[in-house]
Amino acid sequence: MGEKVLMKGNEAIGEAAIRANCKGFFGYPITPQTEVSAYMAKKMPKIDRVFLQAESEVAAINMVYGAAGTGVRCMTSSSSPGISLKAEGVSYIAGAELPCVIIDIVRGGPGLGSIQPAQSDYHQVTKGLGHGDYNMPVFAPASIQEMVDLIMDAFDVADEYRNPVMVMGDGMLGQMMEPVEFKERELKEPVKPWAANGLAGRAEHNVINSLYLSPEALELHNIHLQKKFKAMKENLVRYELFNCDDDCDLIFVAYGTTARICKSVISYAAKDGIKLGLVRPISLWPFPVEAFDKTIAKTKHGYLSVEMSCGQMVDDVRAVVMGKKPVEFYGRSGGMIPEPMDIYDKVKEIMGGVK
């Protein structure tokens, strides 16, 4: 058992990666996640590991490509505009089947947007990021403790599937402080016979590559990748059901910081005799379809997706619910954080003017 320490989210990200045996961190300064780089800059050289501030987000993700291709655990971290820039590199990493962890501490957009918390990267990160047919597991913690645990899991998942894995938090999670415990755990770091880390007597050279000039070969590669994504969909689904044991008037769908706000609304509403539940996706990809299978019969007025965006996850909720129950949306954007009472007003509006 480790002891509990009070840590800022962004620093806890760095510490979690170090404990997961991350040997190389390549970053670029961008608010609101710059403290990740600062933490790694301080800690990594002291334990003979690599911290490097890249010249750009593009270079940082390609440094990850290089390091990951030699078989070492590595990570990069950024925020929304930087994640857009990394898209090319992430596609290459997925195509070449390299494991790595990418952190996205989301800020408002589009464009330069703002530096305040947001969840408006949902579409770009859950639909793969970058070109081509691929998917990337995306985990969305709602507390710093969960963020730390998910980052350590992310390294294992990345190695298991040889795929990039993202942990996405809104700017709030990066900036706030909470007590956190770094649990002792066994590293599931496999032997990597595919790594291009020098022949050292090996008969055949290893090649890290995503180019397949023959259409037949590329299709076979895609079929192979799709098998992996199917396995990920079966094995990596994570979610929390909160207050959904009995029938509900309405069920929230929310992740990260907004899920915490929804929990406050649930307790206010209970005092008024209104029974609200929460589906909290932890894996945004794969999207937790079964959470809806388990709750759809229990909700009278359907689902309300609450997001710090103009309505992104709600598309996945609608795709899963398939019109069997109403799906409503409430969101704030631009770095505005939904107020509990505003969410509650939306609930009452949906329920038909309950006063």
């Binding site: 890249a54 010249e55 593009v58 440094m63 290089g66 291009a196 020098g198 022949l199 590559n209």
Partner: protein, 249 residues
Amino acid sequence: MAVVFDRPKALLDVSTHYCPGCTHGIIHRLVAEVIDELGIIDKTIGVAPVGCSVLAYNYFACDMFEAAHGRAPACATGIKRTNPDKVVFTYQGDGDLASIGTAEIVHAANRGENITTIFVNNCIYGMTGGQMAPTTLIGQVTETSPYGRDAKSTGYPIRIAEMLSTLEGATYIARVSVDTVPNVMKAKQAIKKAFQIQLEGKGFALVEVLSICPTNWGLSPLEAMDWLRANMIPYYSLGVKKDKTEEVK
């Protein structure tokens, strides 16, 4: 019978996709001979670019990466930083290094990354069928400069070796040509030195190799060699542009 000429061990026994007369074959061979002579094949990791030499990973026998367009120096940085005991080289063309990858090469050089870059300059985008490159000479006709490159609208051919020589972090920068046997020998010496500098932990080394593209220049290989001598060498002067290992002596 005594074997007097053989394939270097660092090159695989495969046919290449290069056009007849292309000098990539010579340059591949020089790099491979250097790897053999230094006895480093077991610890060498190469990074291929996007461009004509994209398939170099199929030709070099050491472990290889294929990087995104222009990103080979960043990829090599990630490899070398986490594997400092390995020998890491990038092999890049002029579209890859001097256009889309300028940020990566400048900063790798400026950080003094302990890697070796072989930069093949043939004044044109070859793989995509002969478009204007940043290195295309003034007046040179390409698919995207059909009336000849005009400095007014497209600027000037970029001298990478000279530009990188201004950076404190760069240790060794040379420009060579493979148009004649003596120049091929000099090119090999420069490439060997660029690898030795890395082995000694002395930092960033780049060898710019002037190369021909008979196919996209629309010339025979012999005419292309003449064109290189008549047009490229006067603008892209040969020689060592920077050598910190000599300065300290």
